[in-house]
C-alpha cells in the first residue's frame, strides 16, 4: 500500500521539493520587484507559462517512453545533440550555484555570522556531492524522506506567520496596467519554474505520471501566491520591497511563546536547506549523467567531482549579494531560450520516437 503510493508520488513530491527550494529562497523578493502592486497577476502568468511548458514536456516524455534528455537527443547526431545538451547542462549547473550561494548568504545572515563563506560553501558542496553520489534511486528516496519531514515544518512556519498578518494590506489587488509585461520583468521571475526541466531526467528513475504532477502543480501554485503575500501582509507593500530576504524577515517577526526556540526562522532555514539540497543533488547528478552520456570515456564519478568543484568555485567567485542579484537578472534570456527550446525538442522527438515505434510494430 505504502509502496504503491510512493511509486506514484515520488515524482510529484520531488517536483514540490524542487519548487520549494526556489520559491522559499529568492522568489518572493524577485516577485515583489516585478510589479508595483497586484502581485498575483505575474504569479498567475508564471504558473500559466509553467503549465504550458510542463504539459508540452510531459506529453513528449510520455510518447518517448522511459528516456531522459540524453537518450532523446543523442541519436540526433553530434552537432545537434551538443547544441541542445551543452546549454542545458550549463543551465542545470547554474541552479546549484545560485541555490547554494543563496543558502550560504542566508546562513551568514541568520546563524553563523563569523564563519568564512568558503567554509560554508565547501561544507554545502561536500554535502551536495555526497547526496549526488548515492545514485538516482537514493536521491529520490532522500527527496521523499526530506520532503515528508520538512514540508510540514515549512507549513508550520507559514502558519505561525498568520497572526502577524493583516489581510487588508494585500490590497489593491487588480493591477490593470500589467506593468510587469514591459521590460521583461516577468521573465526575470521565471527562474522559479526551472524545476519542470528536471522532470525530463526522471523517466528512467521513476514513474512520471501526468495527473499527479499537475495536481502537485496546484499545491505549488498555492505556495507561489502565499509566499509573495506573506511579506506584504505583514510589513506592507512598501516596507517589504525594501528587503533582501522578505520571507526570512517575516518569519523573524513571529513570536511564539510555547516553543523553546525563539526564532521561527530557524525552522524555515532548516527546511530550506533540505529542499536546496534536494534540488542541487539532483541537478548535479543529472548533469554528470548527461556529460557522461555525451562523453562515455569519462567516468561519471570524476565528472561529478569536477562539476562539484566548478559549482564551488563559481559560487565562491560571486563576491557580493548585489552581484548575485545581477546574475539572476542577466541570465534571463538564456534561461528563457532553454525553457522554450527543450520542451519543444522533447515533444518533437517524443512524437518521432512514437511513430517509429508504431511503424516497427506494424512492420512486424
Amino acid at each position: 500500500m505504502i509502496n504503491r503510493w510512493v511509486a506514484v508520488m515520488t515524482a510529484p513530491i520531488f517536483f514540490i521539493a524542487a519548487h520549494c527550494s526556489i520559491l522559499f529562497a529568492a522568489y518572493s523578493r524577485s516577485m515583489l520587484h516585478a510589479t508595483e502592486y497586484g502581485h498575483w497577476e505575474p504569479v498567475f502568468f508564471n504558473i500559466l507559462i509553467e503549465l504550458a511548458l510542463l504539459l508540452l514536456l510531459l506529453l513528449g516524455l510520455r510518447k518517448a517512453g522511459s528516456k531522459d534528455y540524453a537518450d532523446l537527443f543523442l541519436p540526433l547526431g553530434k552537432w545537434i545533440s551538443t547544441a541542445l545538451l551543452v546549454p542545458l547542462v550549463a543551465f542545470l549547473m547554474l541552479i546549484p550555484v545560485l541555490a547554494i550561494r543563496f543558502f550560504a548568504e542566508l546562513m551568514i545572515i541568520v546563524f553563523i555570522a563569523s564563519s568564512p563563506i568558503h567554509a560554508i560553501l565547501a561544507f554545502l558542496c561536500l554535502l551536495m556531492l555526497y547526496g549526488a553520489s548515492i545514485g538516482p534511486q537514493g536521491i529520490m528516496r532522500a527527496s521523499t524522506l526530506l520532503t515528508l519531514i520538512n514540508f510540514p515544518i515549512l507549513l508550520f512556519a507559514i502558519g505561525a506567520c498568520i497572526p502577524n498578518a493583516t489581510f487588508v494590506k494585500v490590497f489593491p489587488l487588480v493591477n490593470a496596467s500589467m506593468d510587469f509585461l514591459a521590460e521583461g520583468k516577468l521573465f526575470i521571475t521565471l527562474f522559479s519554474i526551472c524545476p519542470f526541466l528536471l522532470l525530463g531526467m526522471l523517466p528512467p528513475i521513476c514513474k512520471v505520471k501526468i495527473l499527479p504532477i499537475l495536481l502537485s502543480l496546484g499545491v505549488i501554485a498555492l505556495l507561489y501566491v502565499i509566499i509573495v503575500y506573506i511579506p506584504i501582509s505583514i510589513y506592507g507593500l512598501n516596507a517589504a520591497k525594501l528587503m533582501y530576504f522578505p520571507l526570512m524577515t517575516s518569519f523573524d517577526s513571529v513570536n511564539i511563546s510555547w516553543t523553546i526556540f525563539d526564532r521561527i526562522s530557524l525552522f524555515y532555514a532548516v527546511a530550506l536547506l533540505a529542499f536546496v539540497m534536494t534540488i542541487s543533488t539532483f541537478t548535479l547528478y543529472s548533469s554528470a549523467l548527461m556529460v557522461h552520456k555525451m562523453i562515455p570515456v569519462w567516468r561519471e564519478k570524476y565528472i561529478r567531482y569536477g562539476l562539484c568543484l566548478i559549482v564551488y568555485i563559481l559560487s565562491l567567485v560571486i563576491p557580493s549579494w548585489n552581484r548575485y542579484i545581477e546574475i539572476f537578472t542577466a541570465d534571463t534570456w538564456f534561461r528563457l531560450a532553454i525553457y522554450i527550446v527543450v520542451p519543444i525538442a522533447v515533444f518533437l522527438r517524443g512524437g518521432f520516437i512514437e511513430r517509429q515505434e508504431r511503424k516497427r510494430v506494424l512492420s512486424k
Binding site: D262, A269, A274
Partner: protein, 437 residues
C-alpha cells in the same frame, strides 16, 4: 604396521585429541581413529559391538554393518565432522562411519539479549540443525525451504539459507545465493567475513544483516520477503538484508492493538532522533546559536555555566566518551560487579564532575537523556550506529551550529537512503517496490 596407521600417528603428535586405539572387531584387529573431543569413545565402541557382528565377520561385513564409507588418510577432515575411522592395518584399507557424538551443546535457553515480556522463551542455539528445527516448529510451513552451504577455508563452516518460498523476494534470494556460492572457498568466521562475501564495503557503518535470536522475529522477517541465514555455531539468525524498520519495529509489537503499536513505534523513532540529535542540539544552541533559545533559558544556562573552563563542545565530547566507556565497561562484567561499576560511573563520577565545576549540570541531563533514548529502540547492535553518528553530529554542530546540526542530519538521511543491499533499499518504505512482489 601399515602406512595408514603411521600417517595417523604422525598426526597425533600435534593433535592431542586425535585418538588411535587397537580394537578387535569381528575376526580382525583394527585401528579405530577419531577425535575423542568430538566423539564419545565408549558409546562408539558399544555401538560397534552391538551392531550385530559375528565373531567371524570379515572386513566387508563390518563395512556394511557400520554403514561405512571408503576412506583414505588424506581425507582427515571427515573426522572433524564427528566420524570415526576403522583401519585394517594389514591390508591398508579403511572406512569411516558416523561415531556417537559428544554433546557440546547447551539446552535450549531463554533469550539473553532480546528479552521481551510475554514472549516465547524459545531462542536460537548454537547447532545448525537445532536452529532449523526451531524454525520449522515455529512456523510449520511446507513452504519453508532450507538450502545448505559450506564454507571451506582453513576451517569448515556449515550454513543454511532459510526462506519461505511463497513470500521470498526472488531477486533478493538470487543475489544472496549467488554471493554465498561464490564464497564457498573462503573462511566464514564473523560478520565482517559475511560482509566481504556479500561484496560490501567494510567501511559502511551499517551491516547488511540484522541479527536476531528470537525465532518469531526471524519468521516474521521471512514472511515479509526476506531470507534468513543460519550459521552453525552462532546462536543468532542473520536476517538479510537489514531494513530501517528493524530500528523501530518488532514482531512482538503486533500483539498490541494497532494504535498502541503505532504509538510505540513512533516513540522508538523519536528516541532515535533524540539519541542522535540532542547532544548536538545542545552544543549548537549553547555555544553557537544562543539567540535561538528563549531568554529565560539562555540566562539560566549561562548561570549554570559560570566558571566552567571547558567550551560546551569539549564538555559534551568529554562526557560522551566517558559515558561510552562506562557502557563498554559494564557490558562484559559479571552482573553483580557491573552494578557497582554503574554506581561509581554514573552517580559518583556524575555528581563529582558537576560539583567540581568541570561540566555544567545541564550537559549531564542532555547526555543522560540521549543515552537513555539510545537504548529505547531495538536493539543493541543497532544502537552502535547511532552512537557513532552522534559524535560526528556534535563535531559539526560545534563548527556550524544549528546549520551544521541539520546539515549533518540531512547527511545521515542521505546515508540511510543510499544504502541498498541485494537490490533492497535500507529505506524500503520509500521505495516504489514492495519486498517480495
Amino acid at each position: 604396521m601399515g602406512t595408514y596407521v603411521d600417517t595417523i600417528k604422525s598426526k597425533c603428535r600435534t593433535q592431542h585429541d586425535l585418538k588411535i586405539e587397537q580394537l578387535r572387531v569381528g575376526s580382525i584387529t583394527m585401528w579405530m581413529v577419531g577425535y575423542e573431543s568430538i566423539v564419545n569413545w565408549e558409546e562408539t565402541i558399544a555401538y560397534i559391538s552391538n551392531c550385530g557382528l559375528t565373531t567371524e565377520a570379515a572386513y566387508e561385513d563390518i563395512y556394511v554393518h557400520l554403514l561405512g564409507q571408503e576412506w583414505v588418510p588424506e581425507a582427515l577432515d571427515v573426522l572433524l565432522q564427528g566420524k570415526v575411522v576403522l583401519i585394517d592395518s594389514d591390508a591398508d584399507r579403511a572406512f569411516s562411519f558416523q561415531g556417537k557424538p559428544k554433546t557440546l551443546e547447551r539446552a535450549i535457553d531463554k533469550a539473553e539479549n532480546e528479552t521481551m515480556p510475554f514472549s516465547s522463551a524459545l531462542v536460537f542455539m548454537e547447532p545448525l540443525t537445532t536452529n532449523i528445527g526451531i524454525l520449522r516448529k515455529t512456523i510449520h510451513s511446507p513452504y519453508l525451504e532450507v538450502e545448505g552451504y559450506q564454507f571451506k577455508g582453513i576451517g569448515t563452516r556449515e550454513a543454511s539459507l532459510v526462506y519461505l518460498s511463497e513470500c521470498v523476494d526472488k531477486d533478493l534470494l538470487e543475489a544472496v545465493r549467488h554471493a554465498l556460492k561464490k564464497a564457498a572457498g573462503q573462511d566464514l568466521r564473523n560478520g565482517q567475513d559475511l560482509i566481504r562475501f556479500f561484496g560490501y564495503n567494510r567501511y559502511h557503518l551499517v551491516s547488511p544483516y540484522h541479527k536476531t535470536e528470537i525465532p518469531g522475529q526471524a519468521v516474521a522477517s521471512m514472511m515479509n520477503g526476506r531470507v534468513v541465514l543460519l550459521i552453525d555455531g552462532e546462536p543468532t539468525a542473520y536476517v538479510l538484508p537489514l531494513l530501517f524498520s528493524d530500528f523501530i519495529a518488532l514482531d512482538w509489537d503486533r500483539q498490541l492493538p494497532l494504535f498502541v503499536m503505532t504509538a510505540l513505534r513512533s516513540l522508538r523513532l523519536l528516541s532515535i532522533l533524540i539519541a542522535l540529535m540532542t547532544p548536538g542540539l545542545y552544543v549548537a544552541l549553547v555555544s553557537v546559536n544562543p539567540e535561538t533559545l528563549r531568554i529565560e533559558l539562555a540566562l539560566s544556562i549561562a548561570s549554570s555555566r559560570i566558571g566552567i573552563p571547558l567550551p560546551t563542545f569539549l564538555e559534551m565530547l568529554l562526557l560522551l566518551i566517558i559515558s561510552e566507556i562506562i557502557i563498554e565497561a559494564t557490558q562484559r562484567l559479571p552482573k553483580s560487579i557491573a552494578a557497582a561499576n554503574t554506581l561509581i560511573g554514573g552517580i559518583v563520577l556524575g555528581q563529582a564532575i558537576v560539583d567540581a565545576k568541570l561540566v555544567s549540570s545541564l550537559v549531564i541531563i542532555v547526555l543522560a537523556s540521549s543515552i537513555t533514548a539510545n537504548f529505547a529502540f531495538p536493539h543493541y547492535l543497532n544502537t552502535l550506529v547511532v552512537r557513532i553518528l552522534r559524535t560526528g553530529i556534535i563535531l559539526l554542530s560545534g563548527i556550524f551550529g544549528i546549520f551544521g546540526l541539520f546539515a549533518s542530519f540531512i547527511g545521515v538521511c542521505y546515508y540511510a537512503c543510499s544504502l541498498q543491499r541485494f537490490g533492497v533499499p535500507f529505506m524500503n518504505v520509500l521505495s516504489p517496490k514492495k519486498l517480495g512482489q
